[in-house]
Structures are given as structure tokens and as C-alpha cells.
Subunit: 279 residues, 2 copies
Amino acid sequence: MTLSINRASIRQWSVAELVDGCARRGVGGVGLWREDVAELGTAKAAALVHDAGLEVTSLCRGGFFTAVDPAERRRRHDDNRRAVDETAAVGTDVLVLVSGGLPDGSTDLAGARAHVADAVAELAPYARERGVRLAIEPLHPMFCSDRCVVSTLDQALDIAEAHPADAVGVIVDAYHVWWDPGLDAAIRRAGDRIAAYQVSDWVTPLPEGVLTGRGLMGEGCIPLDELGRAVASAGYSGPIEVEIFSDELWSLPGDEALNLIVEHHRASITTPTTGSRRT
Amino acid sequence: MTLSINRASIRQWSVAELVDGCARRGVGGVGLWREDVAELGTAKAAALVHDAGLEVTSLCRGGFFTAVDPAERRRRHDDNRRAVDETAAVGTDVLVLVSGGLPDGSTDLAGARAHVADAVAELAPYARERGVRLAIEPLHPMFCSDRCVVSTLDQALDIAEAHPADAVGVIVDAYHVWWDPGLDAAIRRAGDRIAAYQVSDWVTPLPEGVLTGRGLMGEGCIPLDELGRAVASAGYSGPIEVEIFSDELWSLPGDEALNLIVEHHRASITTPTTGSRRT
């Protein structure tokens, strides 16, 4: 698999610095965020990456569908259409969708989940016409209340499977799904729905807010080698994108951070696993 | 359901103070920890609770089965037998089991989970002979690596169902399971396996270490009224035990903390829900 670096992993660098650093190390792609594209302009962002011989492997992110107020829902829908346009314009077909959490004060989890499915259904035809695939990302259940009511790969697939596979896929992010006892079966079920595969590692203790404490591949307890093989066996042949939110990594000079990522990536896909993974 | 207060919710109080505070408010039970029982002596702890007209609703906790070293496994097994003895001696039939996380440096999650099932099978006959029910508690997936590889109610049931229902049950702790898209079905499946029902609420941001940031019932996003009804519909008629690990609650005078718990409990079981829960 081609290695790609999600821009959030080295946010101490500009996109230009990241692209340059990746090109010098033979890293094949970068995952970008809408903020980056907005700052540079879509055409310039695309040119920056492609002129260096790299590809844009994903755009982060659309979603946050779970507003209750109808006007806000409409604004979110319009913004998601713009996200689709930006995805196509920046030269990737993967738009990462994070569903959004529970509305403030709500305990209606099932209602929020049903609304996400409806919102994806509304957005999917628009995306498909533009050659963009909506990639539903389940987030770890610790983010269920405030970021993403889609908590498992099977849930993401339940939503995606109502649509053609080229219109709606799913993201397998090791950090979010590694704990799931149904993971092996869900990856097999996902098959060609897998639109992206992202890696980092699970380390404890989690920091306050639980957002910025991810580890480098191999530092934690996720069997990344096995997981990568499972994703490949399911039919995924796209890039492996490193997405690490880490206060520690962000505190380093960008070159050092990228070196660490590349080294840990190489080690994580060549180390024999310590045990068997059973379903 | 009878209200019970888990001793960890008001750790600023001694067990004697907690029992007194509960008796004065008509709270029917307390959940104790092995440390409490060890400090007081089993007979004295039992007498303290029963003489005040209360019951011991659970003893926390056995488990932590996932050591790799054979000698350590043997020590854990012996300690779990002692926990069974203490459970019987203190006058409850519910021993809370927290399975343990991944061994240091291991990525073999499936192996650890299989070992938990084996360890429960080894302990169950001993417990049953003494009238003690092993109560397997799934913990939220954010604790999977370091505390508990049993992450869902269905997983706990997969282990429990290999044994008679009076020997091995499960705990439904709202904080740990509320996010699970399979929860409604799992509660119906659990039926008379439900050995205890515990409540608190999910609030964010989570604190560093994610252990001590639980909310009072009604402060967060868990539909406790619905969940209580689901558990009752499944056949559970035991106590509702409040277990809140909260730096905020622990910082208050014990009387104030207990008043808050009792008030929030009453409100949480009488408030109409804001929406429908669908499977």
C-alpha cells in the first residue's frame, strides 16, 4: 500500500512543507483538510500536491449532520455539498464524513443515528454525480456523545449499503475500531466499501478531552500488521494513511515528526504479530 | 427498584457514614468494595449494613484475569476465590468481575478475551457452590486496553451463557453500554442474566485518564428512564445501584453528595424521555 500522511499529523508544518517533506522521503500521498484547501485555494492546493508527484488521498471532512434546527440542518447540507465540490476539485474521490454527536441536551441517540442515514441519503446522489465517494467514518464510542454517533464499522456499513458502493463507502481507522469484537467480520463485510484505511496506535493514559493522545504505529496495542492484512484481504488496495492527533508529535520539528512516522510505519508492517486474532 | 449507593460514589465517607446516610434517607442498599470489607472485617461490614436495615447489593470486584505469567495467573485465580468467599460472607450474591485489559506489550486482544472466558469457567463452579453469582461487567471500549477487554454486553453474554444463569450473570452499567447500537437487543438477550443495574451519566469533556468524569443522572446524554424500563422488561427486579466516579462529587461534603445523588436519581426515573429509542 502507498503511504500517505494526513495533514493533521504534522500540523506544525504548512501544506507546502508537508508535501515537500513527503516527496523527499518517497511518501506517495497526503490527506488534506478543508481548512488547508480554503487557505490555499483549491486549484493551488491540488497543484502543490500533484506537481510534487503526490496524490491527495482524502479530504477531511464533511458530516456533522445531527443538528435539530431545520435552518441549521439546511446550512449543514449546503456546506456538505460544498465539501463534495472541494473534494472533486482537489483531485481525490474520498470525502471523509464524521456524522456529528448528539444535539445539546438530547438523549435521543437512535433518532440522531437515523437522521445521519437520512442526511447521507440526501447527499449521496450529489456526490456520485461529481465522482466523489462519501466515506463514513465510525469514531470510537468515547466520541459518541460529542462528535460521532456512528460508533462501529457495522453501523457505518448499515448506512452505506443503502447506496451504490462507488457512492458511499466507509473508513477503517485503526484507532477507532480496533477494540470491536465484530471487527474481523465487519471488515470482510465491508469489502469494496472500504474507501480509506487510516492508522495510528492506542496508548494510555488518554489525555483530557481524549482527542490528542494517539500513538505512533507500534507504540500501542493495535495489531496493525494483522489489521492491514485483513483490510487488504477484503479487497482494499488504496493508500495507508497515517492520522495521528498527538500533542507530543506536534511539539517536534516537522522533519523529526515525519521521520518518526515513516520509521514507525515501516516497522509496523514488517513486525510479526505477538498472537493470533480470532473472531 | 430499590435504590443502592455504590461506596465508590462517596468515598469521602467511611462505610459507617455511608450506611448511616443511606438509612436516614431511606436508601435501601450499598455496594461495597473489597478494600472496605478488608478494612472492617467481613463480619463487621455485614453487620454494619444489615443492622441498619440495608442490604449489600454487590461486592466490587474480582477479575483481572489477563495476566500471561502462569504464576501470576494462579495468584489471580486464588485471589478470585477469596473474592467469592468474601462476597458470600458479606451477605450478597453479586461479585462484580472486571476482566482486565491487555497484558503489557501485547496486541493479542482475541487471545486475552479467550482467556477471560477460560478463567470465568474455572471460577464459576466454585462460586456456584457458595451461592455467589459471577457478574461480568463490560466496560466502555475506552477501557479495553488497560482495564477490561470485555467491551460490550453481548460479549459478556457470550461468556456467561456457557454457564447456568444462577452461576454467571452480567452487569448493565449505563455509563459503559449506552452507546452500543446493539444494546436493546443485548438487554433482551440478557434476560435473567442481569445480575446488577448501575447508573450514572455520560458527560464531556472526559478528564485525563477518563476514569473520574462521570455525571449525576440527568446531567448527561444517557436515556436512563428508557434504559431502566428496558432492564425491567428483560426481567430484572433487583436494585438500581448508583456508581459515580467523579472528582467533583468526591470534593463535596458526603451529605451534600448523597443528597445530590438521591435528587438526581428521583428526577431521572420520572422525567419523560425526549425521543424514541429504536433498535
